[in-house]
């Protein structure tokens, strides 16, 4: 289960409504925000494919300007993907 730490930049003039929208998405934990529109979020998903979809859904919110990844952990997935011969 991949885990990602993100800084999401939202329109500083529409922070509240952006937070409501973000909190409505499954798998998104909001850890804080500031007046410049920086939102600290942790995304957790079943696969990194789902993570990518979540990021896309976030980008679709029209008050979101960018989604910046700062940390990504996917050890479980890599382990599962071991392609052992035999």
């Amino acid at each position: 289960m991949p885990i990602g730490g993100f800084v999401i930049n939202v329109d500083p003039e529409r922070i509240e409504e952006s937070l409501v929208r973000l909190k409505g998405l499954a798998g998104v934990e909001i850890h804080g925000s500031d007046s410049k529109g920086n939102v600290v979020a942790v995304l957790e998903s079943a696969t990194s494919e789902d993570m990518e979809k979540m990021v896309k859904d976030i980008m679709k919110i029209e008050t979101v300007f960018s989604v910046g990844l700062t940390y990504f952990h996917a050890e479980d997935e890599v382990e599962k993907k071991e392609y052992r011969k035999k």
């Binding site: 730490g5 850890h31 804080g32 500031d34 960018s66 910046g68 700062t70 479980d76």
Partner: protein, 802 residues
């Protein structure tokens, strides 16, 4: 995974993100065992665009498992995009389709079979030697890449030029950056941007033309966006592009001009700058001259004013079409000229033009006229698409007309200097430049090139009008070696496929857009028998020396003999290149040793002649006394700026008189639409890598043709319908995306798809800029027609036929 460990990782993720924006969270992870997320962390550079984002790769039990940005890095400040987030999936044993064994077939219609490295290198050496003996030195060629490490490009070109005595050394940056090189040299006298990314935080006006920065350079775009949002009223963003893209989201002004009218738009902005007296007379008097024509004839300001009279905003608005009005041109020119610091940014929209060098010149003109250079926030800044087009190919001698460290092949003095530094006899490097890219593959078509080594790129898909050039690559009398990490459209045409190590599986330097060289050291093992290219070239050269009984070929790799290939060998190559070849040149990198690079979170910007200077990060802004050590060293007067670039003996910036010129092929009654091509955020170039990351592939499994809703309505095309795109050269059939992206009369297709029906370079045109020789990918004429309703499609990637 136990809950506590998972919680730990989540907290780490939250704390990392919070630290970027100086936010305090109500918890810490101190005193917890850090081994929970990775055994070790390794600094390196993302490979998937030219931004040069720095990150650390987390390795556990020998496998890449995690990534984190490096917040101290001056390129990305720690942020990464989605491509950057997922590329660890291609490393080591993480991906089952990696090439792991050398593969060979004598004939291209046979299946490949696995062979040993000894056999493979023997075959490569024998075939190249055979061609040289029978058809001469210019019957062999190297075609490289802006994704190869600097050490790789350098050693390949050394063996080709010094050893095999041919300048047939080219690379795919010819397809993306050559016009920017031409522009910098003819306008400023020296290749590569004057300033740095630091200008993102200092600029008050951004002029983004022919670049979808938001998708192609998302992490850099983040910095531009931050600057804009933090200074909404003070900072203006102008986006000039025939297509509305995600970059337009933050623009105050969108100039949507018709394809191929960019030169008129830029000249019209200059017109307004002259008419409204917005130019900086002192700057022009001190630092600039006016020139025109092939002979670079110097003319005076009066002549330039007369020339520009033809570009009134009213007339230009008619030429440019789209949404362009005289008022918009005036507004853009005023914002540009009057801001405290204006930064222009562009990529392929400007470079991939029949007159790409001219378009570059005209952007530079605006900066020179208004003195928007060499001061905080002011810069004329071309963005590169590949991670090492600048560092490896432009600086390392990876094009047919240039030797390492910005030396021209045709200059006897510089050529002999290189021969001396290499310790090979004078006259060994031929004085004539080799074939440029289109000419090289034309020579393959004509059977003039008999053996070619293609490294880390896929011309069978990336060349314009690629069917024409695939014919040559298919010839049985052309021996093709291809080095890569995955099967591609080009490995399909090879005789010999050599599996290479990927980034973090070998050691070497990438030089990103802002003149910054950054080291990535090996962190995980390459899969199977994949090897670093530097090892292959050394071993191949030794065999060539024997086959051709030529000790000079051996001499080219002598300094590197006996070195262990994962670290010592690339280090020795880097040392030779930086300490000997860049000494005294404008890209002096002597201070940027591996030792220094390892100490820094990011890397070093040249010029960096000493270690002390390099340890500070090098030179942020070129040509400014007190900021650039070479500006002080080469100073000829008391002026604060010293334009010492090697190509302008008069030490001036050149303002060019360049007229509007349309594309090579204009729409007509038979082919009434403009066709333009480009990238989408998830995929990179030929998708040989991003297509193999299933998250990215599923997000965008195939290419579309984007059609303006008005055109779609006229032609009865609905979203998802299958549409035929036909030019005089070829045909694609793709699903339609009806969308207010392209302007009316223009369609846009992504170029990553490997499916024969959706490979748009079968349709594009191979016209090229007569100066830079860069092809005009961005514009040709086509017609479109609905062929059916929506159809289920399957994504396609070349698989190995062994």
């Amino acid at each position: 995974m136990g809950l506590s460990r998972r919680e730990f990782i989540k907290r780490t993720a939250a704390l990392t993100a919070a630290s970027y924006v100086g936010m305090n969270l109500p918890f810490t992870n101190e005193k917890t065992v850090h081994a929970a997320d990775a055994d070790s962390w390794h600094k390196g550079t993302c490979r998937l665009c030219g931004s040069g984002c720095r990150l650390e790769l987390g390795v556990k039990n020998g496998r890449a498992v995690a990534l984190r940005g490096i917040p101290e890095s001056r390129t990305n400040k720690g942020y990464l995009c989605m491509k950057g987030m997922l590329f660890y999936k291609l490393m080591g044993n993480n991906h089952p389709e990696r090439l792991k064994k050398p593969l060979y077939r004598a004939r291209k219609d046979q299946p490949f079979k696995e062979i040993s490295w000894d056999e493979a290198l023997d075959i490569a050496a024998k075939e190249f030697a055979k061609a040289v003996k029978k058809y001469g030195n210019d019957s062999v060629a190297y075609y490289g890449s802006g994704q190869a490490l600097t050490e790789e490009t350098y050693i390949f070109q050394k063996v080709m030029r010094g050893g095999l005595q041919t300048n047939n050394v080219e690379g795919n940056p010819r397809l993306c950056m050559a016009s920017a090189v031409g522009g910098y040299i003819t306008s400023f006298g020296a290749d590569e941007p004057i300033g740095s990314y630091t200008n993102f935080e200092r600029a008050s006006c951004f002029f983004i033309i022919g670049s979808n920065t938001a998708e192609a350079h998302p992490v850099l775009f983040r910095r531009i966006m931050r600057r804009k949002l933090d200074n909404r009223d003070r900072v203006k963003v102008i986006n000039a592009d025939p297509r509305v893209s995600p970059t337009s989201r933050i623009a105050d002004l969108h100039l949507q001009f018709e394809p191929g009218t960019d030169l008129a738009l830029l000249n019209a902005m200059a017109y307004v700058i002259l008419e409204d007296k917005l130019y900086d007379e002192d700057f022009i008097n001190n630092y600039a001259v006016f020139r025109m024509g092939k002979e670079k004839k110097q003319v005076d300001f009066k002549k330039y004013k007369e020339f520009i009279k033809d570009y009134t905003p009213e007339k230009a608005a008619r030429t440019c079409g789209g949404n362009i009005t005289p008022e918009k041109i005036r507004k853009a020119a005023h914002w540009f000229a009057k801001s405290e610091g204006t930064m222009s940014l562009w990529t392929m929209g400007i470079n991939q033009r029949k007159r790409g060098v001219w378009a570059n010149n005209l952007i530079h003109n605006l900066h020179i006229l208004t003195g928007q250079l060499c001061k905080p926030g002011a810069d004329s800044f071309s963005l590169t698409g590949q991670p090492n087009a600048c560092g490896g190919v432009r600086e390392g001698g990876g094009l047919c007309h240039i030797l390492p460290a910005h030396r021209l092949v045709k200059k006897d003095k510089l050529r002999h200097e290189v021969e001396r530094l290499w310790g090979i006899p004078e006259g060994r490097i031929p004085p004539k430049p080799g074939y440029h890219t289109v000419a090289m593959f034309e020579a393959v078509n004509q059977g003039k090139i008999k053996a070619i080594w293609i490294n880390c790129t896929s011309p069978a898909q990336s060349l314009p009008n690629c069917d024409k050039y695939r014919k040559g690559m298919k010839r049985e009398d052309v021996f093709m070696v291809v080095t890569d990490i995955f099967p591609t459209k080009t490995t399909e045409l090879a005789n010999l496929i050599l599996p290479t190590a990927f980034i973090f599986e070998k050691t070497g330097v990438y030089g990103c857009t802002e003149r910054r060289s950054q080291l990535t050291a090996k962190a995980v093992d390459a899969p199977g028998e994949a090897k670093p290219e530097v090892w292959m070239v050394r071993e191949w050269a030794l065999r060539l020396a024997k086959e051709l009984k030529d000790p000079v070929i051996k001499k080219c790799v002598e300094p590197f003999l006996g070195k262990e290939p994962d670290y010592e060998l690339p280090k020795a190559i880097w040392d030779e290149y930086t300490q000997k070849l860049t000494k005294g040149r404008d890209n002096d990198l002597r201070g940027a040793t591996y030792e220094v690079l390892e100490k820094l979170p990011d890397g070093v910007q040249w010029p960096a002649p000493t270690k002390e200077w390099a340890l500070k990060g090098g030179t942020d802004i070129k040509f400014v006394r007190g900021l650039d050590p070479l500006a002080d060293k080469h100073a000829k007067n008391e002026l604060p700026f010293q334009f010492y670039g090697p190509a302008h003996p008069d030490r001036k910036l050149w303002i060019w008189l360049r007229p509007q010129k349309g594309p090579e092929e204009m729409p007509d009654s038979q082919y009434p639409f403009y066709l333009s091509t480009g990238r989408i955020i998830d995929h990179w170039h030929t998708s040989s890598m991003t297509g193999r990351i299933k998250e990215l592939m599923r997000a965008n499994p195939y290419a579309y043709v984007e059609i303006n809703p008005k055109d779609a309505e006229k032609l009865g095309i609905k979203p998802g319908d299958m549409v035929e795109v036909v030019s005089r050269r070829g045909r694609n059939v793709l699903p339609a995306k009806v969308y207010v992206g392209p302007c009316e009369g223009m369609v846009f297709v992504y170029w990553h798809d490997q499916d024969e029906d959706r490979m748009i370079n079968r349709v594009t045109k191979d016209a090229f800029d007569p100066g830079s020789k860069e092809p005009e990918f961005k514009i040709c004429a086509c017609r479109i027609k609905k062929v059916s309703g929506p159809k289920p499609l399957t994504p396609f990637l070349v698989q190995l036929k062994a």
